[in-house]
Subunit: 146 residues, 2 copies
DNA sequence: ATAATAAAGGATAAAATAGTCTTTTATTAT
DNA sequence: ATAATAAAAGACTATTTTATCCTTTATTAT
């Protein structure tokens, strides 16, 4: 198990892929090409994108020349929006030891240590925008494949 | 889903509990009392401790007055040993986006960001020793219950 | 030695996550 | 209008994680 669920890993990679394939050009990219581009099981990814689409994190149109894309507002969104949508925000605010009542006044042994780490994760994902890596992805400097 | 699996959360809380209940006094503490003390399902916790015992992370003896305890060496171990034993060390070294081939020369978009965070997690868990919170747990300043 | 105790071991069950397949709906080009 | 295309929706399957139960083994006190 990583930091995120598999669903969330696929979601982030897919959104990065859609971003770099459609930014500016007002094009669309289909599920097959995305699945191929990020090495993910196509039908599972379809479900994930369906959900992201419903939530307005990605845009889509049906029919010929249809597919997924990102509007300008979506390109500016932080990665934390994807993570929160898919995995919830336990990773940002939950107790590292799984204690519901853990808080400043009733802390678990690692409360402060985890607060620090969770804040760093939150900050990092909030600072990083979906469209931020488009150039490097186009030039192949960055990878989205296994 | 938190940072760790539920199994790992229970494991850490249980080990903290055993530590503060048996450190120095050369006593033992039974599975029932541990499960109660950390709000965990008893049979599931039994499995987890069985595993930790096999791996030498906790000590145990059977029979009357038996139970779990920690020797001095175990009290000095870092928390990272528990996490590595239970969840593996993907959390310390794995790619945040789940890419097997992700590395310095073939990085995912978040490679450096995640490296930084993973290092902080690793450092924190390596610095923190199992017996470190015994006093605060005895005085009730820290909590292991939901 | 024997009975009582407590963990170890093994088999099974439930829930959550991951993944697949088929049908329906919306869009576009002809 | 119609056929082709591609996502949406829904039902279903598989795997992994979480959790329970029952039997066996080791230890101790009597």
């Amino acid at each position: 198990m990583g930091i995120f669920s598999k669903t969330c890993e696929y979601a982030i990679r897919a959104v990065f892929f859609i971003a770099h394939r459609t930014a500016g050009q007002s094009g669309r990219v289909g599920i097959k090409e995305i699945a191929l581009g990020i090495d993910s099981p196509e039908p599972f990814l379809a479900k994930i994108l369906q959900d992201l689409s419903r939530r307005g994190i990605v845009q889509s149109t049906k029919g010929p020349n249809g597919g997924f894309y990102l509007d300008n507002a979506s390109l500016e969104r932080p990665l934390s929006d994807i993570v929160a949508a898919v995995d919830g925000n336990d990773i940002f605010f939950g107790c590292g030891l799984g204690l519901k009542q853990c808080s400043e006044i009733n802390p678990c042994p690692l409360h402060n240590e985890f607060k620090d780490i969770r804040n760093k994760i939150h900050f990092m994902l909030h600072e990083t925008k979906i469209g931020e890596f488009n150039n490097e992805l186009v030039t192949g400097m960055l990878s989205l494949k296994k």
